[in-house]
Each structure stands twice: as C-alpha cells, then as structure tokens.
C-alpha cells in the first residue's frame, strides 16, 4: 500500500537552469516538479503513473522510494512514513528502471547476494528465494558468469532477480520498458503481472498508453507536476470522450 497525500516537491534552480527555463524563472529560486499530488496504490493492484517526459513521474517515484524528500505533504509506504522511517520504507520496496543497473564485474549470483545482504536477508531465506527466482527466470546456466559478458536478455533477467530477491511488498517501476526490445519488455510486463498475483503493491510510470490498457488497475495522469486524473481504469474508460486512450490523454491535458 502506498499513500501519497498533497505531495509537492521543489527543486532549487542553478543560475544556468534559470536561464534555460525561460523568462518566468528569471528571479525564481526554485521550480516545482510535483504540485499537490495525492493518490493511493492498493495491494494486489497495479497503479500506473502516466505522463509525458518531465511530468514529475520520476520525482514522485523517487520520493516514494525515499531517495528524495518531499517539500510538502506526506508519503507512507507499507504503513511507514518516508520521512520519519525511511529505513523501514526501503526495507519493503524494490526499485527498477529501464536501465539494468548492474555491476559488470560481478556475477548474477554475486549481484543478487549483494542486494540481499544490503536488505539484511537471512541466509536460508535468501538461498530459497534465489533458487526460486533463478529457476523461474531460467538463469542457472549463466549465474556464475561476469555480467559484462552476458547478453542483454540475460542482464534484464538478472536485473529482475535483484529487484525482487528480498520479496518486497511494494515494487516501484520507473519507466521499466523504455527503450527495450519487444521480448525484454514483455518479460517486464510478465513480472509486473506476477507481482500483482502475489498480492504486492505495484506502481509503475510510463508514457505509453498501450501499457496502461495492458496492465493498469488504477491510474493517475500527471502533467507538469499536477494530477489530471486519478481513479480506476473502469472510471477512466467511463469518462472517456475520445475513442482511444492516447487521444483521451491528450484531451485531458489540453483541456486543463
């Protein structure tokens, strides 16, 4: 479960950024990346955070994962406040982006072990999870090879394994399929579905409407830091005035 309440995030602007952002930021000290955003992600459901590039998706997800601190508002993850109990929050989440985020000079086994150690997993539990995940993803035959020498598909599997090794209650995916080939992207989609079936809370960000249809139970549309829609997919479809998801998305953003 993730609860985001009236979340705002301001970033300090450097002198160069002030120039680059145009005349209205000439004297501004900060820029608001997320503006009064509230939503809730429930366990066993997939929540999609939809928006174009620069909408504030990554910032929101980084705040949920405690990498950034909110300027206003609050976020609780699995019942823990991200500001007051960041360590507990981190213990309960897994974080994944489109980048495989692996260490080239380690092997998949070592990579997964490192993450498990950071999460303080017990040896027995770890070995059990590793066996399960490695056989599920068919990773045994390359688990002791250096990651640098693996194919991109093998790397993606390793990346999945390290995301879920500690069996997190909440999984955060930041544009997980961006730039991936069809086969690899499908594996991520399968992973998201599997997480839902296991009753985990899943939040993922994307700008591809096709994925929304494929995966989301609930969704929020975010643009320039503000929410334009927040509800279930059925509600979204019910209020649609355009024929396709994509057109509806554009309409919502443009009308606001």
């Amino acid at each position: 479960m993730i609860q985001v309440g009236h979340l705002s995030k301001d970033f300090r602007l450097t002198r160069r950024q002030r120039r680059e952002h145009g005349p209205q930021y000439k004297n501004a000290k900060t820029i608001r990346a997320v503006d009064d955003v509230s939503f809730e992600c429930k366990a066993g459901r997939v929540f999609g955070l939809i928006g174009p590039n620069g909408a504030g998706k990554t910032t929101t997800l980084r705040i949920i994962s405690t990498m950034l601190k909110p300027s206003h508002g609050s976020v609780t993850v699995a019942g823990y406040d991200t500001l007051k109990q960041p360590q507990e929050v981190r213990r309960h989440i897994g974080f994944m982006t489109a980048q495989t985020a692996l260490y080239d000079r380690l092997t998949p086994t070592e990579m997964v072990q490192y993450i498990a150690d950071l999460y303080g997993m017990e040896m027995n539990h770890f070995e059990e999870r590793r066996e399960k995940i490695f056989s599920m993803l068919d990773m045994q035959n390359f688990s002791d090879r250096r990651i640098a020498r693996l194919s991109s598909g093998m790397k993606q599997k390793t990346s999945i394994a390290r995301t879920i090794i500690h069996d997190p209650d909440v999984v955060v995916f930041d544009e997980p399929t961006t730039g991936l080939d069809v086969m690899t992207a499908r594996r991520i989609i399968e992973l998201i579905r599997a997480c839902r079936e296991e009753g985990k809370t899943v939040i993922f960000s994307t700008h591809q409407m096709s994925e929304v249809k494929l995966l989301c139970d609930d969704l929020a549309i975010i643009h320039e830091g503000r929410l334009y829609f927040n509800g279930s997919r059925d509600q979204f479809e019910g209020q649609m005035k355009e024929a396709t998801y994509e057109d509806e998305f554009v309409r919502l953003v443009e009308e606001a």
Partner: protein, 397 residues
C-alpha cells in the same frame, strides 16, 4: 554493518578492474623503476659519449704558442685544424661545423716570457654537447697555466703561499644521512604523494560517477543501507587503494635504489639502507594514511557530484596541480619543517618525510604534522558525508 557489505562488494569489484590494478601495481612497481633506470642510464651514456666524442677544434695564431699547440694536438679525440680568420671560425662554431676555436694573440710568448698575463680567446657554443669543448680545452690551458706559474715561482725563488694568502680547511658536521635526506629526501614523498592521489582517482571515479552512469545509484539508495554506510563503504575502499598505491610506489623507489646502490660507494649504501628501515617507513606511512583519506574524500566528492564518468575525469584534472605543487615545493632543497610549514597539508608530509629520513625530526613539529593531517582528513570525510546527503549532488540535472 551496511558499510562493511558495501566495502567488501566494492573491493571485489575494484580488484577485478584491470585498469585500477594497472594503476595501483604495474605503474609504481614497474614503470617507476623502469623510467628511472632509463633516465639514469641515458644520462650516463650521454656523459660517456661527450667524453669520447671527437671534437673539431680550430686554432688561430698557433705559431705564437707552439707549446700550447703541441699540448692541444696531443689530446685524444681532438681533431685540430689551423685557421686564420676569426670571423669565419666563429660562424662555423655557431653552425656547429666546429666545436671550439682557440685564438692565440701574436704577442703571446712575449707576455708569458715577460712574466705577464697573456689572454687566450675561446669561442664555443654552450648549448651543444654538454659544453664538452669548453671544458676540455680549458682543462689543457689550466694545466699549462699552472706549469708556467710554478716555473715562475721556482725561478724567482718565491714562496707558493704568496699566491694563496688564505687556505680553507673544510669540516662538514652533516652526516651522510642528513646530506642525503636534504638533497634526495624530497623525491620519495613526491613519488608517494602523486601515486597516493593517482591511486585514489580510478576507484573514486568508478564508485561515484560510475554508479550514476550504470544506474545502480538508485538501487543502493533505495536499499536499507543508510547514506552514511554507503559513503563510508566507498570511502574506505578508495583509501585502501590510495594507500596501497602510495606504498607500492615507495616500494618501487626502494627497488630502484637497491638496484643502483651497488654501483655507488658502499658507505652510502649502508646509510640509505639504515635510512629506509622498517621503523621509519612505518612512521611515514602513518602520515600517508590521513593524506590518503583526504584524497579519497575529495575524489569521491567530485566523482559523486559529476553527472558522468567523463565529467568527473575532467573535474579531477585541475586537482592534480593543487596536489603536485606542495609536493614539488617540498622537493626543493632549503625548505624545512617549521611551526608554519608543519601546518600546511601535503607540504608538511613532504618536509616531515625529509626530516625523518635525515634523522633530525623534531617530535613537536611531527606532532603538529599529525594534527594538521588528521584534522584535514576529518574535515574532508565530514564534508564528503554531508555532500553525499544532498539531493542536488546525487540527482544533478
């Protein structure tokens, strides 16, 4: 124990990195002795060559001084020619057709025989062949000059002391150790300061900017490891690499010294062996430790601030100069450890090493050096941890 997990992982990772290992082991242990050996061998062979080189020397007015001409022509590896025109001889020396010209005045004999001073003009090009022509011609003339003077003294029945009113008896109280430390002692700290810094750069680049580039920064930041654990784990690995590189560089210098000493006098050999004994090396290394910590903290701070590996590398470059400068000043003879210099980081390490090697280290000043270095290390580690906690540093856009 998050920091320990991170330390072990980063250590495994870095040890598998060939580039880092090359910088840490191969550079100091192979490249330093090799470079130094080559430089020394080359200088020696240049000197030998200059000694044996056949020099073309022109003499103008040789009939005025037949004895001198005879002496010049007896000199080995002198190819002697006689000329008459001074201007063309000068031009030929300038364009190196000739190595030197000796111009003897017509009235040379008159002056010499009249117990007066004759003047010989010598044309040479000092920028060529290590000035060999001038040195060798002057040696011959000096010898001839001494013989003439001795003959005059004998003939006039004068006392030799008449021409040498004051004699100097030199008594040097500096031990061989002190002399060696003063003249060559700055070289050792120069080497391990530079290498200590170089040893910290690659791991720092990889552990900071590299983490951003791979996207793994988010993975570890979203793990339960605290920011402090993350910085400490990484910091300690960089320190380890820095100090190991500095130590190996020192070993490289020792190898070089032991390789060359047998060709030098034996009493110096013994002195140097005593100077670089394990106790002194240990004291010096204990001062290298806080400097390595400083290097590690600064390099890591820069690396984590940079958006990419490349940016970090270019930010690191100017730092080189800031570090080399005090190390170079420390190498200059004349600079000594004092209450002021003992407080200046890096320079103080260099000067303290010199003092320790010379066996003349003042314990109070050494304590000041420790204080200054550990203070610097403490501040830089604190700064690095603070730096790592800033969102603007980690997620710079």
């Amino acid at each position: 124990m998050g920091w320990l997990i991170i330390l072990i992982k980063e250590l495994t990772d870095m040890i598998r990195d060939r580039r880092t290992i090359f910088m840490m082991v191969v550079m100091p242990l192979v490249v330093i002795p090799l470079l130094a050996t080559t430089a020394i061998k080359l200088t020696q062979s240049q000197i030998e060559k200059a000694k044996d080189k056949e020099l073309r020397v022109a003499v103008i007015g040789e009939t005025a001084a037949p004895e001198l001409f005879k002496r010049l022509s007896k000199e080995e590896n002198f190819f002697l020619v006689t000329m008459t025109n001074a201007d063309s001889a000068r031009a030929m020396t300038a364009e190196q057709t000739l190595d030197g010209v000796v111009i003897i005045p017509q009235d040379f004999s008159e002056f010499v025989e009249g117990d007066k001073q004759a003047t010989i003009r010598l044309i040479f090009k000092s920028s060529e062949s290590l000035n060999a022509a001038r040195r060798r011609i002057e040696a011959i003339i000096d010898q001839y000059d001494r013989e003439i003077v001795n003959e005059r003294i004998g003939r006039l029945q004068l006392d030799e002391t008449l021409f040498d009113a004051i004699a100097i008896e030199r008594e040097d109280v500096a031990s061989t150790e002190e002399k060696f430390a003063e003249n060559a002692g700055g070289f050792l700290p120069y080497i391990f300061i530079i290498f200590g810094f170089m040893g910290s750069i690659y791991p720092a680049l990889d552990l900071g900017a590299g983490e951003k580039e791979r996207g793994t920064l988010e993975t570890i930041l979203s793990s339960p490891a605290s920011r402090f654990d993350i910085v400490m784990g990484k910091f300690l690995v960089v320190v380890l690499f820095s100090i190991a590189t500095a130590f190996l560089a020192m070993l490289g210098v020792l190898i070089m010294v032991y390789q060359f000493l047998p060709t030098i006098e034996t009493n110096i050999t013994q002195t140097v062996m005593d100077m670089l004994g394990p106790r002194r090396i240990f004291i010096i290394m204990s001062m290298v430790l806080p400097v390595s910590a400083f290097f590690a903290a600064v390099a890591l701070a820069i690396s984590i601030f940079a958006r990419s590996f490349k940016e970090a590398q270019s930010m690191m470059a100017p730092l080189n100069i800031i570090i080399i400068l005090p190390a170079m000043i420390g190498m200059l003879p004349g600079f000594k450890l004092s209450a002021v210099t003992a407080a200046i980081p890096i320079l103080n390490l260099s000067l303290a090493t010199k003092a320790i090697l010379g066996g003349s280290a003042d314990p109070i000043l050494i304590a000041e050096v420790y204080l200054s270095l550990f203070f610097l290390a403490g501040v830089s580690i604190y700064g690095c941890v603070k730096w790592f906690n800033r969102e603007e540093t980690l997620f710079r856009s």
